[in-house]
């Protein structure tokens, strides 16, 4: 009945809630923080139990002579192969070649995906014009492009880099376009009130707003880049980690194959980690759930 009475009551209830919220962490912060910190260390360790256990078990079985380990080499053999390749300088050479291909294809794919995604996200006319075609192209399994790329661009670097760039392009394009289209209309209106030009609107509102989604898109693009470099190198290369895979298969050296796979895993994770570290300062403003744990 009395709307003013209710407002006053709500005010009281809110300040009560605030008091509860502010007083709670003071009492509970120590034990929660400590156990969470422990959880952060313990959980990965639990995750390691299974693979490490299996590896140790396999090593023991092979050493006891219960299995030859010829097709599935034990960890020590893989490690030695890895070391031998590294000492001969072979590993570094192949890693460099592969990383160079990924870097080139990733660079081209990110730039193209960002530009096309930004334009189609901002202008609905361009989107209606381009998006159906791009979606149709995306539906084609990218490996299917390999023969035609080889016909068009030859067997050497150009076809490989084109394939990687195509793989990187689509997640970046989709991520940028989707993120721009879902930018909060309310923030765009703030830009309109301050009479931003189209360019200033993109630079001062849209790009910062899509940055978190953009970085995720770039990371999935990078992941696909590593996938596609394997495909490209499997289909004909004289250098690169993919070549090591094929070489190991043809010469019957499973340890070399596994060593190359391990190298892929390490540099794939490493480059993703570099992207995360490099972009972290750009996202300090984010109000993320995960941040609450840090403080």
């Amino acid at each position: 009945m009395s709307r003013f009475g209710r407002i006053a009551f709500v005010g009281c209830a809110m300040s009560l809630v605030q008091m509860t919220i502010t007083s709670e962490p003071q009492a509970a912060v120590e034990p929660v923080g400590a156990s969470e910190r422990r959880a952060r260390w313990v959980q990965p360790v639990i995750g390691l139990l299974l693979p490490v256990g299996l590896a140790v078990l396999w090593e023991v079985i092979v050493r006891m002579g219960l299995a030859s380990g010829r097709l599935v080499p034990p960890p020590s053999v893989i490690f030695n192969t890895f070391l031998e390749l590294a000492q001969a300088g072979e590993l570094q050479r192949h890693v460099l070649v592969t990383t160079g291909r990924v870097a080139a294809g990733f660079g081209i794919g990110v730039v193209a995906g960002t530009l096309v995604g930004a334009i189609t996200g901002y202008s609905s006319l361009t989107r209606r014009l381009l998006d159906p075609t791009l979606q149709a192209l995306r539906a084609i399994p990218s490996i299917a492009w390999v023969p035609i790329f080889i016909l068009w661009f030859g067997i050497f670097e150009t076809s490989k880099i084109t394939l990687i760039a195509a793989g990187v392009f689509f997640p970046v394009y989709l991520g940028v376009m989707g993120a721009i289209r879902s930018v909060d209309r309310k923030l765009v209106e703030v830009g309109r009130i301050f009479r931003l030009s189209d360019f200033a609107m993109v630079r001062r509102i849209l790009l910062p707003a899509v940055l978190p989604a953009y970085i995720i898109a770039v990371r999935s693009g990078l992941g696909l880049g590593w996938m596609f470099v394997v495909a490209a190198e499997l289909l004909g290369a004289s250098e690169g980690l993919g070549y090591l895979l094929i070489d190991g298969q043809q010469l019957g050296k499973p340890a070399q194959i596994v060593a190359a796979i391990v190298a892929f895993a390490i540099i794939g994770k490493l480059t993703d980690w570099i992207v995360v570290i490099a972009t972290a300062p750009l996202l300090r403003w984010e109000d993320r759930f995960a941040r609450a744990e840090e403080g």
């Binding site: 009945m1 009395s2 709307r3 003013f4 009475g5 407002i7 006053a8 709500v10 005010g11 809110m14 300040s15 309310k186 923030l187 209106e189 703030v190 309109r192 009130i193 301050f194 009479r195 200033a200 001062r204 509102i205 910062p208 707003a209 940055l211 300090r284 403003w285 984010e286 109000d287």
Partner: protein, 263 residues
Amino acid sequence: MLSLDRVGKTYPNGVRALDGVTLDVELGEIVAVVGGSGCGKSTLLRAVSGLDRPTQGSVKLDGDTILEPHEQIGVIFQEPRLLPWLSVADNVGFGLADRPKEERDARVANALARVGLSEKAGVWPRELSGGQAQRVAIARALVTRPRVLLLDEPFSALDAFTRADLQDQLLGLWADQKPTLIHVTHDVDEAIVLGDRVIVMRPRPGRVADEIEIDLPRPRDRQSAAFDFAKRRVLAALDRSLDRTVSVDERETKTAAGQAMWW
């Protein structure tokens, strides 16, 4: 002078949100707009701000027809709408990007001091309370010194105490620059604390139902009898705008009077 001439708005879905709203607002005047939800208050402000165009009539600021956002017209929304990736100071300076850095810094510092948030200049918006965030939004709107400021229920998400505090702060800021204010609210007390006059709107389609001069000196005492009387007039006008016949239906009159007496 800001003048609205028979402004009407029919949304593409056929909803007639506004119909024939005519209103002249003098420079420096504070006009409070009240009315139930859905009677076109936001639609009215969006037309005046240039964010949306009216489908009939026109809005003019000193003879210029408003079709796009205008540099002399600022807006404060119900939500603070701070940009989360900018610090508080950079949010306040958002509309001053074309000014030299020294001038911008000085004006931002001054605006933040005026809303009592100097010590928050470097923090992220997520670290502010609701009331603080809305004060930053007020500073951001006023720092460009607009001649007209439009406020769409800016305090409705705040608790009653913060709200009264911000009403007083807003009046203090208004006294500095004397911009024209059009302040939409559904809080009758707020309308009377702030307004030189109160426009009462009625829904379906949104029209001006009544207009009540508030001829009280500022600062206004929320407890005074004159305040109470003004409030009773506005509540009665609101009742009439909803086609509740005040004079015949005694129960409704009592409701309005009862609300007015509560304070």
